[in-house]
């Protein structure tokens, strides 16, 4: 699956727009990571636990979006956007959306 965040796929022509596809996941950090991050906050720097959590979650959201696009028999997803929002205390939703298209 070709994925891009511009309106086309470079070097290819879009034949048909199949519709909006999206994928999302809500993740919470567990208490152990929370405590580690609290300690890390004293000396500053990267909070690796959180970085990993968010990267993992983002890949998951992308994978779900791809699954949805595959169900539509799409060749590519264009104009992909990411968005993050906190839905509850200590939990965040990672959301990816784009347009599924068939290429010529």
């Amino acid at each position: 699956m070709l994925i891009s965040n511009i309106e086309t796929i470079p070097g290819r022509d879009v034949q048909e727009i199949l519709g909006l596809v999206s994928g999302s996941t809500v993740r919470a950090k567990h208490i152990g990571r929370d405590i580690m991050a609290g300690l890390k906050n004293i000396v500053g720097g990267e909070l690796q636990g959180y970085t990993e959590l968010l990267q993992e979650a983002r890949s998951e959201a992308l994978a779900r979006m791809e699954t949805e696009a595959r169900a539509l028999n799409a060749d590519a997803i264009v104009n992909v956007r990411f968005s993050t929002s906190s839905v509850a205390q200590g939990a965040a939703e990672l959301f990816a959306y784009g347009t599924a298209v068939r290429l010529a």
Binding site: D34, Y50, T51, L54
Partner: protein, 149 residues
């Protein structure tokens, strides 16, 4: 009294350990940025001089980063007197540079020559449990990796 000792230990830890780690990070950023210079990144959707772009894939890089205790206190002080908050400025720029580097590294590992339409997003992470302090900021950089050949 014991509280005062605790705070001064945190303060010293932040100043010495945090400051050292900060400088180390900046050095590593400089080094990796120089290595990745040959990979073009642009916010536009075309690269002048290269009409044929192919093999596009979405790449992203992210980092969660926070300031040390010392800088946090200095930052707090600044919110009272106002003005430029240097300690947070450097945090934001370190986060952005790191995110861009990770995005470029991911593009490079997929054999791309350039990243087009780069977007950068920043989110503040709450500490949770109702307090107003930040646990750090998350910076996400994403774009479309392409081959220019």
């Amino acid at each position: 009294m014991s509280q005062l000792i605790c705070i001064s230990i945190l303060f010293a830890l932040g100043y010495f350990v945090g400051g050292g780690r900060n400088r180390m990070h900046l050095r590593s950023l400089d080094k990796r940025e120089a290595e990745l210079k040959r990979l073009t990144a642009t916010t536009g959707i075309c690269i002048p001089g290269h009409a044929n772009l192919s093999e596009s894939t979405l790449v992203h890089g992210g980092v969660v980063i926070s300031v040390d205790y010392f800088k946090r206190v200095i930052g707090l002080f600044h919110t009272i007197i106002g003005g430029r908050v240097r300690s947070y400025e450097s945090l934001m720029s370190r986060g952005r540079r790191e995110a861009i580097i990770r995005m470029k590294e991911s593009a490079l590992s997929q054999g791309a020559d350039a990243v087009i339409n780069v977007r950068i997003e920043t989110t503040r992470m709450a500490n949770g449990r109702g307090d107003k302090q930040t646990a750090g900021i998350e910076v996400l950089a994403y774009g479309t990796a392409v081959r220019t050949a």
